[in-house]
């Protein structure tokens, strides 16, 4: 009997089915759960009220990231500096109390391993290929870069996972996003995913799990794959994956929670079997030529509002769909942009390099490579580089990248979600623009009235030194 060919997603799904209901809903086992301070207090409270406990505390890690200020965490004497905002401080205090009360490891805001949930999962080897990974944050999809089935959940589901280590789910449809060819100079993984979202739209992946296939992803580093999978959610998909391969195993090996000895061999053998079988079918597919991808920026308030940096701000009339025309009108009004403006003529007052999308070591390196020997433009009032974790920060400092960044006139901060979302002191002032390596350009995302242009780390660094959106390739050539 020949086995039906299966996709990567189906294989991970099948390995995690605890129970199947008559209507096809499955009880799926969850291997890893990462907890942060914003979406967990109500879940812990519900457990306490109903007298329930966390079923497998060893499968959870808690770390604060959304609320933590990115300024110094300890004073000159090594004493922890309290958080000024009383509500943020309260959320952190609750996590610090809740996690140990329920037996969960807590990484504190002033610990060296602290960082953004989606950065520390892979970094610690806690996130593994083939695992089911959840967190009360939609960018959990990020972990799919390791070949894990990872997705964001709401607080009720956080409670469900804590109490039962499972979720009730219906299998998603599968969406193959295939990119083949050679990426041009200056085209980063961020440009690849922005381009993909521009092609498929923000609802393109709704109801689907994306598998990224093709030589472009096979040849991409794990950091790059994490960036791509991170923004699957902006393409409407709850999760995105890249098949684990030798690059993945090399990345995972030796990390704190990575398996060792016989367990490691067993793990690799299984991980090697996960790639989609030849002949496996997807519910839909899109094929993109790598050569068509340019350094990409967003001009509007939806992540699908992308354009190559050489382009112009579009007009509402350029769109066939009436409701999209309306949305574009709204967007341009909010963004303060006139159709026909060249994207490279858009001045920015703020630059943010960080977030779960782009705060890993490669991202800091890419930004530093552009900043080296250059200075922040006078028109740029605020430019910060926020590493994704304490360990990324240590690594960057060991490589001297912090010095390059500071010499260029940018600020080098402590790890956290920072200016990606307006929940901590790092905000973009109303009416001002920000070239941002984060993932969402929604209305008010970086602060009420803030105008976000999503870009890659190199493009953000380029904007910092020129004072306007810039084709990074023109800078590289001059240096």
């Amino acid at each position: 009997m020949t086995k039906q060919p299966r996709t990567l997603y189906q294989k991970i799904w099948d390995a995690h089915v605890v129970d199947t209901r008559d209507d096809g809903t499955c009880l799926i086992y969850i291997d890893r759960h990462i907890v942060h301070e914003v979406t967990s207090p109500q879940a812990f409270e519900a457990l306490r009220v109903s007298g329930r406990k966390v079923r497998r505390p060893d499968l959870h890690i808690a770390v604060p990231d959304h609320n933590v200020p990115t300024t110094a965490r300890r004073d000159a004497n090594g004493k922890r500096i309290p958080i000024a905002d009383p509500q943020s401080a309260q959320q952190l205090d609750m996590l610090e109390r809740n996690a140990p009360e329920f037996g969960i490891r807590y990484i504190g805001d002033a610990d060296r391993e602290q960082g953004i949930v989606h950065v520390i999962g892979p970094e610690q080897g806690f996130s593994l290929p083939g695992a089911t990974i959840v967190c009360g944050d939609s960018h959990t999809a990020c972990n799919g870069g390791l070949g894990a089935l990872a997705f964001g959940i709401g607080t009720s589901e956080v409670e469900h996972v804590m109490a039962t280590q499972t979720l009730l789910l219906k299998q998603s449809k599968t969406f193959q996003v295939n990119v083949e060819g050679t990426l041009g100079a200056g085209v980063s993984p961020k440009d690849v995913i922005l381009h993909i979202i521009g092609v498929i739209g923000t609802a393109g992946g709704t109801g689907y799990v994306i598998e990224y296939t093709g030589n472009v992803f096979r040849e991409m580093s794990i950091e790059g794959r994490l960036t791509v999978c991170n923004m699957s959610i902006e393409g409407g998909a709850r999760a995105g994956l890249v098949a684990p391969d030798e690059t993945t195993f090399a990345y995972v090996k030796g990390r704190p929670y990575a398996p060792v000895g016989a367990d490691w061999d067993k793990a690799v053998a299984w991980w090697q079997s996960l790639a989609s079988d030849p002949g496996a079918t997807y519910d839909k597919s899109v094929h993109i030529r790598a050569e068509d991808i340019q350094p990409t920026v967003t001009w509007g308030t939806s992540p699908e509002d992308t354009a190559p940096i050489g382009g112009v701000v579009p007009a509402p009339e350029d769109f066939a769909d009436a409701s999209k025309r309306d949305a574009v009108k709204h967007s341009l009004d909010y963004m303060g942009l006139t159709p026909g403006t060249r994207l490279t003529d858009i001045a920015v007052e703020n630059v943010f390099i960080g977030s779960c999308t782009n705060s890993r070591i490669e991202d800091i390196r890419a930004a530093a490579a552009i900043l080296k020997g250059r200075k922040k433009a006078p028109g740029v009032k605020w430019a910060i580089v926020v590493p994704g974790s304490g360990l990324v920060k240590e690594q960057a400092e060991a490589e001297g990248l912090d010095k390059i960044i500071i010499e260029a006139g940018l600020e080098w901060r402590e790890p956290g979600c920072s200016a990606c979302l307006a929940m901590n002191p790092d905000k973009v002032p109303s009416g001002e623009r920000c070239a941002s390596t984060s993932n969402r350009n929604f209305t008010g995302r970086q602060g009420p009235g803030a105008r976000t242009h999503l870009v890659s780390p190199a493009m953000a660094a380029a904007a910092a030194v020129t004072g306007h959106l810039t084709d990074v390739r023109t800078l590289s050539e001059n240096s």
């Binding site: 083939g130 939609s138 709401g154 499972t166 709704t206």
Partner: protein, 200 residues
């Protein structure tokens, strides 16, 4: 959870597409540690737009919201569902919903009804002046003008909503099945079943 079988009354004729969770409840409202009081921040930026339906007294307290495609896209914050509930909305009708939002809505007893765009257009028109009724048992949306739209809903979700069932309690009843799975994978996939911190 409060059981839900029928929702009738005024409906906000909003109709906008791609309403993301940052619009439903901006991040600066997420610093709460309870579920209540988020209604004030619900659709905060929209409420500042001139002529918006949410501050129009004609729709005050409406239990239904009619939106465009891809409602609730963006973040996984369940606060979006809590904020709508706190504002009094127990049913959202749209051509499509983001996966995470529809899950969160369901878990908080908000009924999400997906209907084709032409039905939405008709309901947006009716809602300007007249009430709308949703009957979960019969899976219909009706107006005072003989409009009758059938909608699909997952049978399990329907059952839970109609009876106000708590999903965690239902799953805990399957404890033996979960334990059996854990025993099995402890053998076959020890690297997933038992994370161990080998190095700092």
């Amino acid at each position: 959870m409060t059981p839900i079988s029928q929702v009738s009354g005024k409906a906000y004729p909003f109709g906008r597409k791609n309403v993301d969770t940052d619009v439903i409840i901006p991040a600066h409202w997420l610093k709460t540690v309870t579920r209540d009081g988020l209604g004030k921040g619900c659709l905060e930026s929209v409420k500042k737009e001139p002529g918006n339906v949410f501050t129009d007294p004609a729709f005050a307290g409406a239990p239904i919201l009619i939106a465009g495609d891809n409602f609730g896209c963006g973040s996984s914050r369940e606060h979006a569902a809590w904020a709508l509930l706190d504002m009094g909305v127990t049913c959202v009708i749209a051509p499509s919903f983001s996966d995470i939002f529809s899950g969160n809505a369901f878990k908080n007893g908000i009924l999400t009804v997906a209907l084709p765009q032409d039905a939405i257009d008709r309901l947006l028109e009716v809602a300007k002046t007249d009430p709308i009724s949703i009957d979960l048992e019969h899976q219909t949306v009706t107006t005072p003008f003989q409009d009758r739209f059938l909608f699909e809903i997952d049978p399990f979700r329907k059952h839970c909503l109609l009876n106000g069932l708590d999903e965690v309690g239902l799953t805990l009843a399957q404890d033996a099945t979960i334990s059996a799975y854990e025993a099995r994978t402890g053998e076959t996939m020890p690297f997933l079943a038992h994370p161990t911190r080998h190095t700092a």
